[in-house]
Symmetry: D2
Amino acid sequence: MSEGKTIDKYNEVLGSGGFIKLLGIEILELSETGAKGRMPFDAKYCNPGGSMHGGCLYSLADTVAGTLAYSKGFDVTTVDGSMHFLEPAVNTEYIYCTANIKRRGKHLVTCDVEITNDSGDLLDCGIYTFFKLSD
Amino acid sequence: MSEGKTIDKYNEVLGSGGFIKLLGIEILELSETGAKGRMPFDAKYCNPGGSMHGGCLYSLADTVAGTLAYSKGFDVTTVDGSMHFLEPAVNTEYIYCTANIKRRGKHLVTCDVEITNDSGDLLDCGIYTFFKLSD
Amino acid sequence: MSEGKTIDKYNEVLGSGGFIKLLGIEILELSETGAKGRMPFDAKYCNPGGSMHGGCLYSLADTVAGTLAYSKGFDVTTVDGSMHFLEPAVNTEYIYCTANIKRRGKHLVTCDVEITNDSGDLLDCGIYTFFKLSD
Amino acid sequence: MSEGKTIDKYNEVLGSGGFIKLLGIEILELSETGAKGRMPFDAKYCNPGGSMHGGCLYSLADTVAGTLAYSKGFDVTTVDGSMHFLEPAVNTEYIYCTANIKRRGKHLVTCDVEITNDSGDLLDCGIYTFFKLSD
C-alpha cells in the first residue's frame, strides 16, 4: 500500500460510494500484491432461495480487487470480471474475499479473487481486469 | 414463458429475495428466447465516482438472464457469468438489461446479456451460464 | 477497413504467422464493425473423440476478432478472451466465425464472436478484449 | 489419478487426437487435485509478430485442465474457458501449464490454470469449467 494511506482511509473513500455502504463492504488487509475484505451475510443480500445473491459476491470481489489495483495511486476502472460460483453462500456471519495481483502493467492490472465463508471454505473464484485512468 | 406464469408472478417471486428488492429490479418482458428487465439509477447504487457500481449491473444481468433460464419451469443456479464494462452508467433514469438464449440444453443454459441506458446506448455486455437443478 | 488494405493483404500478413497458416484460417469479410473468417474442418484439428478441439475454435475467434480490432491501423494484443462451447463441431467442411465490435475505445477494443458450421448452426460464442499498442 | 492409468496411458489417448499431437502437448504430472503439462515453443505456433499464438496457449490449458477433470474416470466436455494474456510467450524452449481443481462437483468440474515459461515467469492465467458426460 503506497501513498501513505491507511486502510481506514481506503474504507472512508469506499464508504462514500452508496453501493459499497449499502453492502457493508470493508477492506481488512492491503499490501502491494494482495488485499482482503468482507461483507456481512444478511437476508437483504439473498436470493429468494436464501443464499447470497451472486451479484453481491461479484460486488465484493470487484471492490476488493479494485482497491488492490487502485492502491498504487492510480484511479482504475473495471474492464471485465468473471465469477465462477462453486458453492452457495449460506450459514456464515461474513463473506470474505481475497484478491491477488497476477500482473500490474503500465495500463492494465489483472487480479484473481477467491470468496470464502467463516470456515474458510472456497465458495467462488474469478478474475478481474482493471484499466488505469489518469496517470 | 411456460407454466402459465405471468410476468407479475415472476416479479413477485423475485421480489421475495431481499437483494432483488433492494436493487428494485423488475422483469418487463419474457419469452421462450429472451427477457428484458430494468432497475432504477440512484446514488445508493453508485461508486464513489458517481457511476453505477459494476456489481449492480452484474446483479441486474444475473437476475434477468436467470429468470429467462428459469422460465421453463426448472430452478437454476448460476455456474458463471462474465461482464465487460464498456461505458460508465450515468445520467439515466433506469438501467435496462436484455438477455437472449444462446443454448438451452438438457443441463445447461447459456445466455448473452446487454446493458443499456434510457437512450439505448450499450454500456456493458456479458455471457452467463446456468445449471438446471433437478426438478 | 481503413488504410486501403484489401482482405488479401490482411490474409497475407496473417499467413506469415506460422500458427494461422497451420490452421488454414482465412478472413472472408471485413468492415468497420464486423469481420468473418473460416478454417477447414480436418481430423488433424480434432480431439480424440472426433470433434474439433476447443483450442482451434478459440484460435479462429481470436484471429478473426483480432483482425477486426487491428483493422483501424493500430497493432493490438489480446487482453483476454472467453469461449463458451455450446455444440460439438463435427460434420462440416468449414468452421466459420463472425466477430462484431461492441466498443472501439481509445485504448481497448471489445468484440463478441459466434462460431457456426456449414449449416449456420451456432456452435460457440464468446467475448474478446484487445489492447491497442502504441501507434 | 484413479483408474490405475499411468501418465503414459493418458498421453497415448491424448496423442490419438490430431490437434493435441499437432501441438506436441504432453502431460507431465497428474494427481487428484492438480496436473502439469507442456508444449514446445516453435515458429509454427506463433503469431506474425513472433510470440506464441494465444490459441495455442488456450489449447494447452484446455488439454491439461481437461485431463485433470477427466482423470477420475468420467469423460468431460469443456463448458467454457477464459484466458487472460499477461506477458508474451517468447524466448523459451517449452511452455508449461499447471491446472488445479477449484471444485469437483457431481456434474461440473472447475479448474484454474497458469501458463509459465522455462524460467517460471507467469505468462497467462484462466479458469475452465467442464461438464461430466454420462458415466
